[in-house]
Amino acid sequence: MEKNEIMLEIKDLHVYYGAIHALKGISFVVPKGKIVTLIGANGAGKTTTLSTISGLVKARSGTIRFDGKDITNKPAHEVNRMGIAMVPEGRRIFPNLTVYENLMMGAYNRKDEEGIKEDLEWVFQLFPRLKERTKQLGGTLSGGEQQMLAISRALMSRPSLLMMDEPSLGLAPILVNEVFEVIQKINEEGTTILLVEQNALGALKISHYGYVLETGSIVLEGPSEELLENENVKKAYLGIS
């Protein structure tokens, strides 16, 4: 990949949870305008990677650079203000806030009323179903609607990088389809995406580049089409033997 297009660059990142060495020196890059996927088994360190980038988890060593600036171990709210938004695993909708308030939480640091309105229209266009439910409490939405809300909420900060943790998890197959379509659409409209998925097949199909994580290390990387053809990946993650 060409250096000048890099949006996010992770170098030799080590993370510990107590005595557990969760990330053992991983390095990877996310180029501007692309979809990059991290795949791997449960406990491989995918969520930890996203949490460390977003500032929820502290790195022991290594650097994270975003748009050329060092953001390693910056608090989460500052990372967000720099233009990184996250759709956390399990959606984490605020159940006690209305759908509208959930969206406004996404736009917490924005002052441009006009822009907020525009983006609101945009997410309602992406997910028309949300528009009918703006006054409903987040906790009353169905799983699929919550996922849409989580994505929309992240988009409301108008991020340059959108990170998504297992967006297809626990969704009915038909919704999984829809979510992946939307991810592509968001990317086509100019947002760079870092995606973590257990559904490796779906994730690799929509992404440009992929990394395979195994117990805290990157064991394999390559353009997504190549990974889809890789025998080891097929066996371990795609359930094709």
């Binding site: 107590g18 005595a19 626990g170 992946f180 117990t215 359930g239």
Partner: protein, 280 residues
């Protein structure tokens, strides 16, 4: 009980939390001596099945029979006394205690579980507790030291068998991840179970550790004359050691059979492995 006979029977078990149906009309059995796998996507209700069996939750409806005894209304400590042991998805060791102490805690019910014994007696089975008044005997040290010595020897013996003897006096929290998983199994074995429920034993292990774990599970099954019921995400483990597999999705059993049968079931592929679909 003969090999292959049903040891643990779940009869139309349903578990609801508020409006959410976590386990929906689950009917199946675990047969004496087998290694049974329970798989399914995250949130399918697998761990809830374990929690209902071990008494953490009372099922909303349905019955659970273990070794001929209806354990549905029983409390966790009684169920353990009858012979069901478990491990947890996110390791729950007694972190600030030593490896040896962790195992010895699991032996405690053999001197202090009159509740469990009562159930055994009521069902015409042999009580398990070794004598009475152990609280006073242990505080006043009346014939307690021999018991302590016996428990200690048995615990060390067990640790020897599972290969943790050299770490007996380390704090549980100081153990590497893989060893902690092993200790959790050892601790469960110390309750002298007939059946052991393993909740994602391979989570967070690398391929080499996973390989060892598979051998380990098979070995303890034979050595301790156990029945094994396990939840696992790692398909290698499930396909490698499970003689029978149950697949859950949305709280329901969607498929059951040998590894081969399950793997080729289209319903399983759709729910668990991700469906083939076209990109726009």
């Amino acid at each position: 009980m003969a090999k292959g006979e049903p040891l643990l029977v779940l009869d139309h078990v349903t578990m609801k939390f508020g409006g959410l149906v976590a386990v929906d009309d689950f009917t199946n059995e675990v047969r004496e001596g087998e290694i049974l796998g329970l798989i399914g996507p995250n949130g399918a209700g697998k761990t809830t099945v374990f929690n209902v069996v071990t008494g953490i939750y009372y099922p909303t409806s349905g019955r659970i029979i273990f070794d001929g005894i209806d354990i549905t209304p029983l409390k966790p400590h009684q169920i353990t006394h009858l012979g069901i042991a478990r491990t947890f998805q996110n390791i729950r060791l007694f972190q600030d205690m030593t490896v040896l102490e962790n195992v010895m805690v699991a032996q405690h019910h053999s001197i202090s579980n009159p509740d469990g014994d009562r159930i055994l007696k009521m069902n015409g089975k042999k009580p398990k507790m070794n004598g009475k008044f152990w609280f006073w005997r242990s505080v006043l040290k009346l014939g307690y030291m021999d018991m302590e010595k016996k428990m200690r020897e048995e615990a060390l013996n067990l640790l020897e068998k599972v290969g943790l003897a050299s770490l007996a006096y380390e704090k549980a929290s100081a153990l590497p991840y893989g060893q902690q998983r092993k200790l959790e199994i050892a601790r469960a074995l110390a309750t002298e179970p007939k059946i052991i429920l393993l909740d994602e034993p391979a989570a967070g292990m690398n391929p080499k550790e996973t390989e060892e774990l598979m051998d380990f599970i098979k070995r303890i099954r034979d050595e301790f004359d156990l029945t094994v019921f396990l939840i696992e995400h790692d398909m290698k483990v499930v396909m490698g050691i499970c003689e029978r597999i149950i697949v859950m999705d949305y709280g329901r059993i969607i498929s059951e059979g040998t590894a081969k049968e399950v793997q080729n079931d289209p319903k399983v592929i759709e729910a668990y492995l991700g469906k083939e679909w076209e990109v726009i």
